[in-house]
Structures are given as structure tokens and as C-alpha cells.
């Protein structure tokens, strides 16, 4: 322990400039982030947000410098370092570096997370689990990877180049995947893949660091790091397979007591939809226009995943895996619903112009309204229990005294799935007209997922409340609508009560036509 403290003190003295810089960046981030997230979306608010975002990038950069400098002070690669022939205990050395990271990174960052929560109007001690979970995510995604890379490189310059190389590699890989698949195929909303990757990252990075400190076998450690991407790809592949089985298992097929009835509507024009463009070149989304009914009062139904099977008149067929569905939330009274699933472009070409039989399967979650809070819209910041903190917005073109929307934040993660409803005013609010029963403005925010925190540098999660009908179509002119102080705003939180699978057969379905222009594919329904 004495040796650990001794090495720690040496590092603290040696890197005081880096430490001060990191603390200053963190403090500036807390100062700006707290104000920016609940600021008005005017020029000043936008500037603060931009600065806060910049600092949110600089915070991990400052960690990188701290971690790399601390580890490279007793570098683990090479055979000429003075310390390797001195009586350093490797456990003491590792403990000293860990202590350095805890004292100058974890402690200030934890304080920063608490300060941000406090600034936004949350009580930090109520979110300790989430803060610890966030620290765990940061450890797996940032701290351990940085430490592992520093432990297998011989200088700060090499560490930097390696980091940049990995960053560049990710960008290239993401571009290739984006070009090929676009966003046409989404995941089916499970944490299995991410959790497995996090666990793998924690194990591999910890092992590499431990191995380097215990044995300084750089080539073994580097090999382990190089195999990690393969392991992650493998883990994601198997997690995907598991998720497919999970949907079949967790969403039992219902027949008679389905909480929603769906029928196919062959005429897309009733939806105002005639086509769309995608940037993908491998998978093309195909929409199915459905009419829905039967959602009970106090309930909402959400499609989580969709699967389709196509059968041609000649008997040949193609079927998809479960694919993630777009974020539809169906309430009582909703009429239309157009789920999509993606089809490989060669399948689309093969079955073009042929009347097909489509067998659609939808994995649905039924959610029940559980907690409703109605309040008169205050002119200043207000808190919604169990949801977050909101502030009325005067918008990017502020008109004095007028509220154009609501901006909210939640602690550590998006809030529980919440339906927000209020009434707009077509005219600017005055003391005379006050709250009035104008057009309905609604928004869905949050999710049913209940992980204690999301990965992020900030403990405040932005909640975009995009209330519908925020503009009034007055002839050819579009006019902004207003929210008057005192107007009732209702926050209804939902919780999942049931999962189920329903199936639908569609006869004589024709796949959409498509044309390729440059990088874009235009799909015409």
C-alpha cells in the first residue's frame, strides 16, 4: 500500500498540469451542460449547447491524456525502462495507476454527474444506481480501452496514433455498413448484444491490462486486443440469433383476444404515401398499409418487431428474420399504421410485378397507462414526477412572452414511455385570451426499457418533445401555434403489461418499383 501511494503521489505531482486541465474541462462542461440542456433554443441557447457538446468531446480526450500519461510514466512495452529493474511490485504499480484514475477521473466525474443532476433539479442520491451503472458503461467503453491501448504501446505518440487508427477504422466500417444497409434494418430492441459486448470488452481489456502489468507480454496482449473485434462481431451474431428466438418465445401468438385488429388496405394513396428514398444498396424497406382498431381505453399498443414471408404464384418463397419496427405507438382511435420490413434488393427484383401472398407477423407490446400528471403549464421550469424536468420554450425565433413548445430533460436516461398532450392556441397568448381549447398537440417520448442509465458523458438526457400540430395551415401560409401559460398539459406514463404476436395474410400484394440514382434508391409504391 505504501508503494502504491508513493507511486500515486509521484504521478499526481508529475501530471498536475494534465490533472488541472482535465478538472477544468469537466467543471466547464458541468457549468455549460446544466444551463444548455434547459435553455431556450435561441442563438444563446444554441451556442451554449454547441459549447457543451464540444466540452463533452473534450472530457474523454482529457481522460485519454490522463490515462495514457499515467500508464506511460512506467511504460509496459520495451526493455530499457528504468523501473523494470527496480523493486516495483506489479500489483502495487497497477493499484497506483488505478488509484490515479479513480481519484482524478472517477471521483471528479461522479461529482460532475451529481452536480448536473442537481443543476437540472434532480436529487442525485435517488439516482446512485444509475450513476454507478453509467460509470460501469464508461469503464467498459472508454476507460479500459484507453488503459489497454496505453499498456500495449510504447509512447504517447504511438498511443495517440493507435487511437486515431481505431477511430478511423470505426468511421470507415460504419460508412461501409451505412452504405450497404442504411437504416433499413433495425435491431429488435434487446440488450443482449450490447450487454455481451460490454461484458466481453470488460473481460478482454481487464485481462490485457492485468497481463501487461504482471508479465509485460506485449505481443500476447496485442493479439488479444486484435481478436476483440472478431469476438464482438461473433457475440453480436449470436446475440442476433438469440434475439430471433427470444421474440418467438417472449411474444406468444394470440388468436381471439388480440388487443388490436389489423386489416390490410391496398390503396397507399389514402395515407398520402407514394414512395420514399433510401440510401441503402442491399436492403430495401417495403411498407404495408394497415388499418387498425380495437386498442382499449387506457392502453397503447406498440409493434416491436416485424417478420414477413413472401410466396409467389410459382410456389417459391422468401422469408425475413424478425426486424425491428419503427416507433409506432397506437392509441384508441388511431386508424392507420404502416409497418415496414426490409427485403434484399435481389429478392425485390425477382418478385417485381408478380402478385404475391404475404404472411406478416408482428410482435407487439401492450402498455397500460399507469400514472397521469396534469398540470397547468407554468411560465418557468417545472418538474413532472417520475418523468423529468421541463422548461417552456420560446423557440429559435423568440417572441417575448410566447411559448412555442416544451423542452424536457430526464435523469441519466430517457424517461419511461410517456404520452404528452396539450392544446395549442392559434393566436399569441395574451392576458385576455389566456388558455384556450385549440388544436390538440401530442407527443410520445421515452421508452419501456428500464436500464438504470444510458451510456453518456452527461447525467442529463435530452427529451425531445415534438408536439404535433405546432403549425396552423392558414391557406397557403403556415403559422406557428402557441402554448399559453396555464394550459393543461397531461403526462401519461405507460408500463408494459403484455407481449404478443399477431399474424396477417395479405393476398395479391405487389412489391414496390424502385430506381437507382447515384447513391440513392427511390422506391415508388
Amino acid at each position: 500500500m505504501n508503494q502504491t501511494l508513493h507511486i500515486f503521489k509521484k504521478d499526481a505531482r508529475r501530471f498536475w498540469i494534465e490533472i488541472l486541465l482535465s478538472l477544468a474541462i469537466t467543471a466547464a462542461f458541468v457549468f455549460l451542460e446544466g444551463r444548455a440542456r434547459l435553455s431556450n433554443e435561441d442563438t444563446q441557447g444554441q451556442t451554449m449547447r454547441a459549447l457543451a457538446n464540444l466540452l463533452a468531446t473534450l472530457v474523454p480526450v482529457s481522460w485519454w491524456v490522463l490515462i495514457a500519461r499515467a500508464i506511460l510514466a512506467e511504460r509496459l512495452v520495451g526493455d530499457t525502462q528504468f523501473w523494470i529493474t527496480r523493486p516495483y511490485g506489479w500489483r502495487n504499480l497497477l493499484a497506483a495507476k488505478a488509484l490515479f484514475v479513480v481519484v482524478f477521473l472517477y471521483v471528479p466525474f461522479s461529482i460532475a454527474l451529481c452536480a448536473l443532476l442537481l443543476q437540472a433539479g434532480f436529487t442525485p442520491h435517488a439516482y446512485m444506481g444509475g450513476i454507478l451503472f453509467n460509470l460501469l458503461l464508461l469503464t467498459g467503453a472508454i476507460i479500459l480501452p484507453l488503459a489497454a491501448i496505453a499498456s500495449v504501446t510504447s509512447s504517447f505518440a504511438r498511443t495517440t496514433l493507435t487511437m486515431l487508427g481505431i477511430f478511423l477504422g470505426f468511421i470507415i466500417l460504419a460508412s461501409i455498413i451505412g452504405f450497404a444497409f442504411g437504416t433499413s434494418v433495425t435491431g429488435i430492441g434487446s440488450h443482449v448484444g450490447a450487454d455481451t459486448c460490454l461484458a466481453l470488452a470488460l473481460v478482454i481489456f481487464s485481462t490485457v491490462i492485468g497481463l501487461q502489468y504482471a508479465l509485460r507480454r506485449a505481443w500476447i496482449s496485442r493479439t488479444m486486443l486484435l481478436t476483440l473485434p472478431l469476438l464482438l462481431v461473433g457475440a453480436l451474431y449470436f446475440a442476433g440469433k438469440y434475439d430471433q428466438a427470444r421474440v418467438d418465445r417472449d411474444y406468444p401468438l394470440v388468436q381471439g383476444d388480440a388487443p388490436i385488429q389489423l386489416t390490410y388496405s391496398p390503396d397507399p394513396r389514402s395515407y398520402g404515401s407514394t414512395g420514399f428514398q433510401v440510401s441503402a444498396h442491399v436492403m430495401i424497406p417495403v411498407s404495408f398499409h394497415l388499418i387498425e382498431s380495437g386498442v382499449g381505453e387506457g392502453y397503447a399498443v406498440m409493434p416491436d418487431a416485424i417478420r414477413g414471408e413472401i410466396t409467389a404464384p410459382d410456389g417459391s418463397h422468401w422469408s425475413s428474420d424478425w426486424q425491428g419496427s419503427e416507433r409506432y405507438r397506437l392509441l384508441p382511435g388511431d386508424l392507420y399504421f404502416s409497418p415496414r420490413f426490409s427485403i434484399p434488393i435481389d429478392v425485390l427484383t425477382k418478385y417485381q410485378g408478380v402478385p404475391l401472398k404475404v404472411h406478416l407477423s408482428l410482435a407487439l407490446t401492450q402498455a397500460q397507462a399507469e400514472r397521469t400528471t396534469t398540470l397547468a403549464l407554468p411560465p418557468e421550469r417545472f418538474s413532472v414526477p417520475g418523468f423529468g424536468v421541463c422548461v417552456p420554450q420560446s423557440g429559435w425565433l423568440p417572441i417575448p412572452g410566447q411559448i412555442m413548445g416544451i423542452n424536457c430533460v430526464a435523469a441519466l436516461r430517457e424517461p419511461p414511455l410517456t404520452y404528452i398532450s396539450t392544446r395549442w392556441s392559434d393566436a399569441p397568448c395574451t392576458a385576455a385570451n389566456g388558455p384556450e381549447a385549440g388544436a390538440l398537440g401530442t407527443a410520445w417520448v421515452g421508452s419501456l426499457d428500464r436500464q438504470p442509465a444510458e451510456f453518456g458523458i452527461s447525467s442529463i438526457a435530452d427529451v425531445s418533445v415534438n408536439l404535433s400540430n405546432n403549425q396552423n395551415q392558414n391557406g397557403s401560409k403556415q403559422e406557428l401555434r402557441y402554448l399559453c401559460a396555464g394550459t393543461p398539459v397531461t403526462f401519461t406514463q405507460f408500463t408494459a403489461v403484455r407481449r404478443m404476436q399477431i399474424r396477417l395474410d395479405i393476398q395479391d400484394f405487389y412489391l414496390p418499383r424502385y430506381s437507382v440514382t447515384g447513391n440513392m434508391i427511390t422506391v415508388t409504391e
Partner: protein, 307 residues
Amino acid sequence: MNPTIRTESLSKRFGRTVAVDGISLAVPEGSIYALVGANGAGKTTLIKLLMNILRPNAGRAEVLGIDSAKLAGSSFNRIGYVSENQELPEGMTVGGMLDYLRPFYPSWDPALELQLLRQFDLPLARKLKHLSRGMKMKASFASSLAYRPTLIILDEPFSGLDPLVRDELIEGLIERAPETTIFLSSHDLAEIESFSSHVGYLQQGRLLFSEEMSTLSNRFRDVTITLSEPSPLPTELPATWLEAQTSDCVLHFVDSDFKQDSPRELAGRFPSARDIALEPMTLRQIFLAIAKSGRGSAISIAQEKEA
């Protein structure tokens, strides 16, 4: 008495290059052992194997009774290591480095530290990165001697230093000699001849011989035989005669196996000799003779000695 360092068939390869080739060696306790050899002979690699900086491909080594592969942490309390290639904590001052290292060593002697600082005239407040090469080496020496190590291992410690600094370091080293074993490598024979008690000669990764300095000096003689008439180089010369050559009536060679009765044997072998001169040789002359005579004969001498 157990040797302080012992190696058995120690080998190290880097790809296809054999840097250390089956070295078996014993360094007696209390000795000043000089490992000599040309640049690239494998001296530094051998030392790194002993210090567990590198791991052997074959064989084993023991340092202070500990398997060198397990040398770590507190084992280094008793070992002082100085290398010409060693990176010092350049950002620290001399005083800062000593302050930092002091708590690592239970046997650190502040009085000796002070004595070494005075002896080497080290500027405490100056950062290591601002010191000359000689001063850095002195700082390294001071930080490696102040805890009275049982074993001091030095890798080319005097390389590239001016004679004044070199003498100061040797003086500091010799003062520690009675209480420690010193193992040092060098390619400068003159600098180690004056104070080494044992010597090992490394060539292309192989240890050609390893013995006491006095034995070595006694074993080698520069022999000049003046014959009564010109004579060709005799055939079937003993393998222990190195660099044998004739010029007119003079036969010259280096006898690597000189014994008390060698003069009598020579007189018997060359009855017509007018004069037989046997001169002791310096270490430098001995190694030059071995090097020039070629690897084969040198190894055979070593093998002969081992037998």
C-alpha cells in the same frame, strides 16, 4: 560458496538470429566479473536475460539463488542495475529521483547516498534530461549503489564516457567491491583489466571461456623463438598455439596454455633455438590473439579448458 549468478545452457533467439547460444556460466560471490566481447556478441542480451527483462528460449539462469524468470519486485532490493541504454525518469531532478527511489529500498543508506552525491559531484536540483551523458550515468550509479546491493550488474557502463568520469565511476565501484558482487559487460578491455577478478569472453552468442583474470593472464604468453637458421612453420602445431607465424629465423605465436614447464617443453621441441622469449600479455593482447586466431581454435581452447 554458491555462485551469485549461474546459467545453464541459456539461449535466446530473435527470429533466426541466435543472440545467446547455450551459455553456462558461474559468477562467484564477491567477484568482479567482466563479460567482454565485440559489439553484437550478445553481452546485453545475456544481461537482460539475467535481469528478467527478456525471457530465454532455452536454458535457465539463477541470480542470487532466484530463478531469473521469477526475478521481480522485492528481488530487486538486492540488485543494482545500470545500463548505457537505460531510460531514466528524465522529467525528475537528480534529487527528485533519489527521493522517489529511496522508499523502495529498505536498505537505502542516506549517508552513502550523500557520499556518492559528493563523490560524483551531482547537481541535485537539475533535471535528468538536462544532464550530460556522463552525469546521467553518475546519477544512475548513485541511485543503484546507495542501497548497498548484494549484486551490481552493469551493461557497458563506461561506454562513451570521458576518462575522468570513467575513473570516478570505477573508483565508486571499487569502493563497493568488498561488500558486493559486480558483473559488468564491456567491449573496452583496458578499462576493466585493472579491477576485474574474473573474465568471460563472448563471441557470436557463445561463451568462449570464463575464468579468473589471474589464471587467464598466467595461461597466455607471447612466445618468440629465435632459431639458428630460417625454418618453415612446423606442421601439426598444438591447438593452443595461436597466431603462429615465422619470419626468417623467428617463430612467433601466442601460447594459450602456458604452464610452469612450458619453457622446458619449448626448449625440447626446438633444440636449435638460440633464444626463447616468453612475455606476459595484457588482456587486450590476449583477446586480439583469440579474435584473430579465429573462432574454431578459440572454441577448442574453451572446450579444452572445460574438459
